[in-house]
């Protein structure tokens, strides 16, 4: 085994937690059962690395096989690292009938034309996703497997998710992708995050959709259970209404775990107590950043507890339709729920005219967002 393979293996063993290492090695299927039993996973990572190196030497594995192992690990745990989304535009006529084999060949050939010495590995996952691992090299150097780029593409959809891409390789990769998927262009979809599953669900609309129903509430139960006989909620109707409205806006199922949403606004400041700001002619440019372990879930909770009577639905619609980020100045939003979102604070520029109370509450902000002067810039 040469040096780069050894280093890659060492890096991998350090990166993968021990419990997952065993499963990943099983899925890899390059070691025999006896060899896998030989490696003792209860010992320190260093010992495991040495044992694995010895075993791989026996099997005469090279860097390509170790790269396979890394790929299996990343496919199993996609929610790491930063994923960026791109959208393919202007499909040509045969884009819709693109097949995997054709795509693979085209992509490999295009990429190797553009840059010599790239190692490409393409794998099709069970849920129709095509995973591509690219190790970039030069005319003068071997492919660098330690810093590989991962690309996920669902054939016949316009979305591509990329992680670990350097800016010097970006145009090459994008060109190869565009040509091999038979489109005419590709653009940045402005949606990025750590959780691949969440951004994928959001873009491909794989969350529970909300359909309008004529009779939303189910029949009321006649017999209440024993323990509930002594507990009674005085305002049960009001809270049931709120839950229903939240369900109508967000759906009752799992929501994709969006962690950060940034909006760029050009809008009008509206605060009756503050005339200097309200009377400005030029539109107010601001940035709104929402960040939370799960934004949509916290908005739904907000709506169902009635904390702000809202326009949470309009935010959600905006996120879905536009699907990309708009960059704005920082307003942070305070939410009193189990998944807290940051505090509201006025940006620097506005504070010195507003004074000490530069706080705009979520409600007013949301009014701002839905104000007719508010233009959302792509």
């Amino acid at each position: 085994m040469d040096d780069s393979a050894k280093r890659l293996l060492q890096r991998l063993v350090r990166r993968i937690p021990t419990q997952m290492l065993r499963d990943t090695l099983d899925k890899w299927e390059r070691l025999t059962a006896k060899q896998r039993a030989f490696v003792d996973f209860t010992q320190s990572k260093w010992t495991i690395t040495q044992e694995l190196l010895a075993v791989c030497e026996e099997r005469e594995l090279n860097v390509k096989h170790i790269a396979e192992l890394e790929m299996i690990y990343v496919i199993g745990n996609p929610n790491q690292g930063m994923w960026h989304t791109f959208q393919l535009v202007d499909a040509e006529d045969d884009a819709h009938s693109l097949e995997l084999v054709q795509f693979k060949e085209q992509f490999k050939s295009h990429l190797s034309e553009l840059k010599r010495n790239v190692a490409v590995k393409i794998k099709k996952h069970t849920d129709e996703a095509v995973w591509i691992r690219i190790a970039w090299g030069d005319t003068f150097s071997r492919p660098n497997h330690l810093k590989a780029t991962y690309v996920v593409h669902y054939l016949q959809t316009p979305f591509v998710f990329v992680s670990g891409l350097l800016s010097k390789h970006k145009p090459l990769l994008l060109q190869a992708l565009t040509l091999s998927t038979r489109h005419q262009g590709i653009k940045d979809a402005n949606l990025s995050g750590q959780k691949l599953t969440a951004i994928r669900d959001l873009l491909m609309r794989q969350y529970q959709h909300v359909f309008p129903t004529k009779y939303p509430s189910p029949l009321a139960e006649r017999n209440r259970s024993v323990s509930n006989l002594h507990i009674e909620n005085e305002q049960a109707e009001a809270s049931a209404n709120r839950h229903r409205m939240a369900g109508e806006a967000f759906g009752n199922g799992m929501l994709p775990a969006l962690q950060s949403a940034v909006y760029k606004l050009e809008t009008k400041f509206r605060d009756l107590t503050n005339e200097t700001m309200t009377e400005r002619d030029k539109p107010l440019r601001c940035v709104v950043k929402f960040s939370s372990p799960n934004i949509l879930e916290s908005l739904r909770h907000c709506a169902s507890t009635g904390t702000k009577n809202i326009l949470a639905t309009s935010i959600k619609q905006m996120m879905q339709l536009k699907g990309h980020d708009f960059v704005s100045k920082y307003f942070y939003c305070k939410q009193n729920v189990s998944q807290p979102v940051q505090f509201f604070k006025c940006p620097q520029e506005v504070t010195h005219t507003v004074g000490t109370t530069g706080l705009i509450l979520l409600q007013e902000l949301l009014q701002l967002l839905s104000h007719p002067c508010c233009h959302l810039f792509p």
């Binding site: 323990s227 507990i231 005085e234 305002q235 109707e237 009193n336």
Partner: protein, 184 residues
Amino acid sequence: MSLLNPFNKRPGLNTATILLVENEEQFQQSLANVLVEETAVTVNVRLAKTLPLPMKNDESRPRIDLVVFIINLTLDKSVKSAKASLKYLDPGYFLGKVCFMVTNARQALGCTGRLDAVRQLAVSLHCPLLFAEDQTPEGVTSSARRLLTILKVASGLVPNTTALYLSNLTRCAMPPDIDQPSFD
């Protein structure tokens, strides 16, 4: 005016009713589940987000013996909503039938202003101020037990004691001034 009145209904036999008012509607549910498990007395629990209570439940509602305001110290809205609800209680309740229960006091160490405000409120109304821990089941059980003790007295089920007598012992007092010299 729909003031909640402590004495305009007949009490039930061996029954005690408690009203938990909480803006977030989280802790009250787990407290209620523990409170109804009491066997010596029949405990009825009514849950509300704010006062005033809806008029249409007036007939079916039993006499409320103890009103507990659950305040989450990390949230401003919680304190404000509890203060706003106080207006809808008949003054008869403040003779020992109101109690303040505060959660997350440890996390709110940064904003002592809120805790002081709640303490002032409890002192001015002569009500007890209890601190509760709502995340673990043990915390819920111990707060429920404390509430049950006060509830039994407030509903007249403990002989020779009334809510007013008990409130003299349990009511909140302001801590002594920090300016005073400590004994070193």
